[in-house]
Amino acid sequence: MTTPVSLAGLLPSDLPDGREAVAEGRAEGTALEIAPSLYLQQKGAGSERAWRERAAADGISCTCINIGLATWPDTREALGCIYEDSLSRGIRPPDRFNILAERRMGLPKALRLAAPQETGPLLMTQEDWWETTHTVPIQPEAADNTIGGPGSHDNAVDAIQAGITHIGVLSQYMWRWPYWEDETGQVMAVLRAAGVLAAHRSHGVCFDSYLEDGYPGVFHDYANYVGWAMLERYVCEDLIGAAYSCSWGGLTSDPVTKAAVTLALRAFRPEHVPAGFVQGDTIGNRADIEANAGVVSTDVLFMKAVDLRYRLGGAPIAVPVTEMERIPTWQEVAQVHAINRRLEEYLPSVASAIDWTLIEARRDTLVDGGRRFFEAAIAAITSSGIDVTDPAQVLLVTKRLGAAACEELFGAGVPDEDYPRGRRPVMETDLVHQTMAERSRLLEFVHGSGDSRLGGMRLVLASTDVHEFAKFLLDAALTEAGARVIDAGVNRDPEDIVSVAVESAADAIVITTHNGVARSFAQVLRKELRSARLGEVPVFMGGVLNEDVEGSEIPVDVRADLAQLGVAPLATVEELIGKLAGFACASPGAPT
């Protein structure tokens, strides 16, 4: 049995009551009126949710686009062009678009102009907001940087008054904004904004999330994605009283997996609020741009087939084939939108040939796993003395816990030390799938190159940062090669590593680094080793061997400096094992 853990220390002692912030927002929201947008006037619906539910029932496919040019006027103009383009092609224009606002939008209005400008639309005035719903009949979602940051409340009020009825992004409460350190204030602003949305639940206003913007984006297990969404729904609907909509999808390539997760994310939500959008595959595209047409077609076809068959009322996004290389132009967005519409012709035929029972079985497995995650999280929060009915406490404690800890503590998978987070995923994410494949490849390499070449060598292994995959792979390969690996942990300082080297009489030290400190770290480590009279212990370093330096916009390569400092820079795990084996043979004192 593992030691019980406690989360209580993650909360400040002076955290205000989140329910009061929600109540304030709700009172304020009641006084606001939703102006009908061009799109909703055209559809004769009071809200996007109302229209989507009708469209789903009638078997009408909806689409969404992402468009975020450098400024709002550029974006506004592009929207007009895309709308005209659709009409000229004779297809239905996009149903909706996501406003991918600039990061400053996340700050309270009063602070926006003083903060450094970045790329993306910035909506400063009520006129700007009005234009988002009245330029063309394409319904906007107030997405990135609307709710989540310290400026959440200002944005929620503006968005509602402009006639936007899907407003996000709940999961962005995880983000940090420049020049804003007050995490408590940020959570309170989100809750006040959520209260504004809750006041309009009966008018069809939805609080949208995009899972990958929060911890699920780095989760290892899709079941935990689903569990996390259950947690978000609990906070949003049961504690705040707003309607929860759950968008997701950008980090998944496999169409069958994507179909199962999409269905699982709907299964546990009693009201089946349509997702704002289902994001297209953003990781499948490669440098061969023409070939990427295959990625977008498969991805969109399956998303649409699922949507139609189960009457989800979602709106799939087709990802431009050039997205990996540049911010797409309006023409590139219009082109994939045309593909999105064209694929609708194939849906009836394709959908009838898909094995839905397989997908439904996976859905059920994911929902079961999700429930385990959710229940474990609620149990741990409750048993830590945290008030699980206060949305501020739940949001802040999960935020401060971090993605890795969430999966390690609450994860749906069974304990299994062979996996980086100590559990075998119910359904591996793409990232984990790749890592486990790499582990198998390395273990095969070790077998192929002769067992136990490092027989009994004592190796201190440490990471300079939080990255776990590299250390996980190194530990597996070096142990398999016969070394005794002494794990000094992640986030280690040079002094810690030297202490471990002394206590363990290390034969060598292996460092993995990804946080741009390789040279400084090596310098301090070498100095500390010398003062501990361990100057002769060899040090190997791999990962991202660069360093942030003043005067250079990008980190500089420091491999030559490392070699000069007496730290061997490494490109691969195979190279490390080869060098260690050579050292084991050459060193008379080393075990054989």
């Binding site: 002692s13 800890a405 202490s499 471990v500 741009g516 400084s520």
Partner: protein, 464 residues
């Protein structure tokens, strides 16, 4: 009524408590000055008679046990290789066994360390170094360097098991006795101090206490079961479990005395550090005791003034009087002040002692610059923020308003201190902790009942 007679031989007072073994309740108590220099049992027998008379009905004494800190306590030196690793583990084992730690030696030891060890004249030396299967050479060199300087000490060897036998052979020639126990740090991240602590405890009873010549009777050696702080830590462990979840992550105990202020903490659950927080240093044992040798109400009152002078001046007012009053306390440790400005100063000194001792005992969370000047949120030391129960002991708190003093000390702790928050404060008015720790050996369930009953009854306030 069947009772246990539980005693504490302190440097100044011998306190005796009669506990009803059926009810787990305190039924009688008494105290007498500790008769040092004469027969220590004289004062004890007199206190036992008073405690039995206090019961008011015939009593059948079924258990008789005592803890002792008389005669200078248990003088120990802890030895390890690296601060934060084996040195910390050895220190924890010694302090948890109730030792008065007179010195800590760390790193590669040489002649100067050997001389220091000889001058410290410890009763027990705890020798650690290397994880299992790890460092051998330096550990052997350290043992060799110290072999001639052990004086009258007993040695407990708790180092890398691969060389424990060799180390024990090196010490055997000169030590009073040598005892090999499992490594206090078998692996990085795994502290295992219990066996070392038990061995130290046993040596204290069988060897050290007899050597102090406090009594001419063998009965004294039979009575004493452990060092006083050992009993308190055992009780804290028990109390944390007896709180039925009300203790939160665990329990914290403070004890303000004339010479020192002790803090004990027992964590039953591991607090989780937040995302992006770096844990500085390595994991420590879940139960630890720390002793602040410069914070006390009498012999160390000047130390308190030095550690917390500005705040004390703010309370009492600046001027000579404060410094003089602290100095007076150090020269008249037996002085008792029941009212007036002297009593008020005692109370403020107690707040200072608890505040500073908790501040040092608990971990911290702060922004620090690391390698390449990168700032990060760093957490170091024990995280006690989730402990929901604090038990405060010390004579000064026994009379009203002990709870107020504890609340004042807690309120002074900054947000960066990983100290208990939103905790219930319980004043141990009847010294029940030490008694329960003694009783726990033979009758753990009765000891639990005693703690549950006594500590709950003594709830005086909630501190938010």
């Amino acid at each position: 009524v069947k009772v246990a007679i539980l005693a504490d031989f302190g440097s100044t007072f011998t306190k005796v408590m009669a506990v009803d073994l059926a009810e787990g309740a305190v039924v009688g108590r008494a105290e007498e000055p500790t008769s040092l220099g004469g027969e220590i049992l004289d004062g004890y027998e007199s206190a036992v008679r008073s405690a039995l008379a206090d019961i008011g009905r015939p009593a059948d004494v079924r258990v008789e046990a005592a803890a002792s800190s008389a005669g200078g306590g248990l003088r120990m030196v802890a030895i390890g290789l690296e601060p934060g690793l084996t040195t910390t583990a050895a220190t924890t084992a010694a302090l948890n066994a109730g030792a008065r730690l007179v010195g800590v030696l760390t790193g590669r030891l040489a002649q100067a360390d050997a001389l220091r060890l000889a001058s410290l004249a410890p009763e027990i030396v705890l020798f650690a170094g290397g994880i299992d299967g790890g460092q051998e050479r330096i550990v052997i060199e350290n043992a060799t360097a110290l072999a001639e300087s052990l004086g009258e000490a007993h040695v407990v060897v708790a180092c890398n098991k691969a060389v424990a036998k060799s180390v024990s052979a090196i010490f055997r020639a000169s030590a009073r006795s040598v005892h090999v126990v499992p490594n206090v740090l078998p692996e990085i991240g795994v502290t295992s101090v219990d066996e070392a602590r038990e061995t130290v405890s046993r040596l204290f009873i069988t060897e050290v206490i007899a050597g102090k010549r406090l009594s001419g009777s063998p009965r004294f050696a039979r009575l004493v079961r452990m060092a006083t702080p050992d009993a308190v830590l055992r009780a804290a462990v028990l109390a944390a479990g007896a709180q039925d979840g009300a203790a939160g992550d665990g329990i914290v105990v403070t004890d303000v005395g004339g010479a020192t202020t002790d803090v004990y903490s027992v964590l039953m659950r591991s607090p989780v550090s937040g995302f992006g927080t770096r844990r500085h240093g390595f994991a420590r044992a879940p139960g630890i005791r720390t002793v602040e040798g410069d914070l006390g109400l009498r012999s160390n009152a000047p130390g308190v003034l030095q550690a917390d002078g500005r705040w004390l001046e703010g309370q009492i007012g600046p001027g000579r009087w404060l410094a003089d009053a602290c100095e007076r306390r150090s020269t008249q440790p037996a002085a008792v002040f029941s009212d007036g400005p002297e009593r008020e100063l005692d109370e403020q000194l107690a707040v200072s002692c608890m505040f500073r001792a908790l501040e040092r005992h608990c971990g911290t969370r702060s922004i620090r610059r690391g390698v390449a000047g990168r700032p990060s949120l760093v957490e170091q030391g024990p995280n006690l923020t989730g402990c929901r129960t604090l038990v405060a002991g010390g004579g000064i708190l026994r009379h009203v308003p002990g709870d107020r003093l504890v609340a004042a000390a807690l309120a002074r702790l900054p947000e960066s201190a990983l100290a208990p928050r939103r905790c219930r404060v319980i004043v141990d008015r009847r010294y029940v902790l030490g008694a329960a720790g003694l009783l726990a050996q033979a009758q753990p369930e009765i000891a639990k009942t005693l703690l549950r009953r006594e500590l709950r009854e003594e709830v005086v306030d909630e501190c938010w």
